[in-house]
């Protein structure tokens, strides 16, 4: 059960709260690139959490695969998706207008006032 105050408690609390906050930010972020960068940061913090749980093997794997390679793959996937039209309706955050995303990205960029 909960053992009360111990050395490193503050450190653990910081990791846990940062993880929860980052997890929320990743899910709430609408921009894929930012969400991926947050995901990589999340992976590195999860690795720290594994170290605190005395599981250095999993920490190594998490840092290398979870944060590193998955992050690189996700960035690539986002890069691939960028050139294509959205398969679902996308709301323009500025005008509020919905489009089904059949336009070419370069046309929509000028029509929507450019990307922010």
């Amino acid at each position: 059960m909960i053992t009360g105050v111990y050395p490193g408690l503050v450190y653990d609390l910081v990791i846990v709260s940062a993880l929860l906050w980052l997890a929320f930010r990743i899910l709430a972020e609408v921009k894929l690139f930012k969400a991926i960068v947050l995901f990589i940061a999340f992976g590195l913090l999860v690795a720290l959490a594994w170290v605190r749980l005395a599981a250095p093997d999993i920490a190594l794997a998490e840092a290398a695969i979870g944060a590193g390679i998955t992050g690189a793959l996700l960035l690539d996937a986002a890069g691939h998706m960028r050139g294509r039209a959205a398969p679902y309706p996308v709301t323009d955050p500025e005008s509020g207008a919905e489009s089904v995303g059949t336009k070419r990205p370069d046309e929509s960029a000028t029509a929507g006032g450019g990307m922010q």
Binding site: M1, I2, V30, K31, L32, F33, K34, A35, P56, D57, A59, L60, A61, A64, I65, G68, I69, A72, L73, L75, D76, A77, A78, G79, H80, M81, R82, G83, R84, A85, A86, P87, Y88, P89, V90, T91, D92, P93, E94, S99, G101, K103, P105, S108, A109, G112, M115, Q116
Partner: protein, 242 residues
């Protein structure tokens, strides 16, 4: 903003329900975690007792490659299947390892030339350390994979002396060696995946070495297949910087 670089926001009601389900599930997880009794539980005492028989002194390595070798065999099989699948749908450059970047940034190239050998060295260390400390084939392999990704991003392509066939062979070799060792144990009278006691350490090291090479190649090949040329990548970063 119509291209898929941002996700659509769901209606408020959906978000409230999803949030509620997440909070309830989180509470369940916390309760389950607190219910775990403290101290030595599960199979840890059994593993500690049998550790001298495994050929290694690191309990995690002993579990992964000896006690529960079957799981690891299936894991590497899944990785090989993933690489094959990605190559099948990835088109022409899936296994090609073409340089993605123009050889543009001399600082990045120079840094990569320094870093890549160090990463291979650290991978070798992790592989060797796995016998008695945290480390082993998966960690070492993912470092090799990361070195490959870094090389690709910095504009270094596949060296001419590495043929496509060689790359595919390296992807498969870890699984093949694993199956060979597993069957070899049967040949000398043991069970499937049972190592002869006196050769356990040698066999596990041999196996881990080939697994490391294979895992590295698999992870890099996953990356090539989906890789975006560097020009699009920088564009992506610039447009998202707002």
């Amino acid at each position: 903003m119509k291209a898929v670089d941002a996700l659509p926001k769901s209606p408020l009601g959906v978000r409230v329900v999803a949030g509620g389900v997440c909070v309830a599930f989180g509470a369940l997880l916390i309760q389950a975690t607190l219910a775990i009794p403290e101290g030595e539980t599960g199979l840890a005492p059994l593993v500690a007792e049998r550790l001298p028989e495994s050929g290694v002194t690191n309990a995690v390595t002993a579990c992964l490659l000896n006690f529960r070798g079957y799981d690891t065999l299936l894991e590497i099989a899944v990785l090989v299947l993933a690489a094959v699948g990605v190559m099948a749908v990835g088109g022409s450059h899936a296994s090609a390892w073409k340089p993605l970047a123009r050889q543009a940034d001399p600082i990045l190239s120079a840094l990569t030339r320094l870093l890549a050998p160090v990463m291979v060295l650290v991978a070798g260390y992790l592989l060797w350390a796995g016998e008695h400390a945290p480390g082993g084939a998966f960690q070492a392999g993912s470092l090799i994979g990361a070195a490959g990704v870094l090389l690709t991003l910095s504009g270094y392509g596949r060296p001419a002396w590495v043929s496509h066939l060689a790359l595919r062979a390296v992807i498969a070799v870890g699984f093949i060696v694993f199956v060979a060792i597993a069957l070899g144990g049967m040949m000398v009278g043991g069970a499937f995946l049972e190592y002869p006691r006196e050769h356990a350490k040698t066999l596990m090291l041999l196996l881990e070495t080939w697994l490391t090479v294979s895992i590295g190649a698999i992870l890099v090949s996953l990356f090539f297949a989906s890789a975006t040329p560097i020009d699009e990548r920088t564009e992506l970063m610039e447009t998202d910087r707002g």
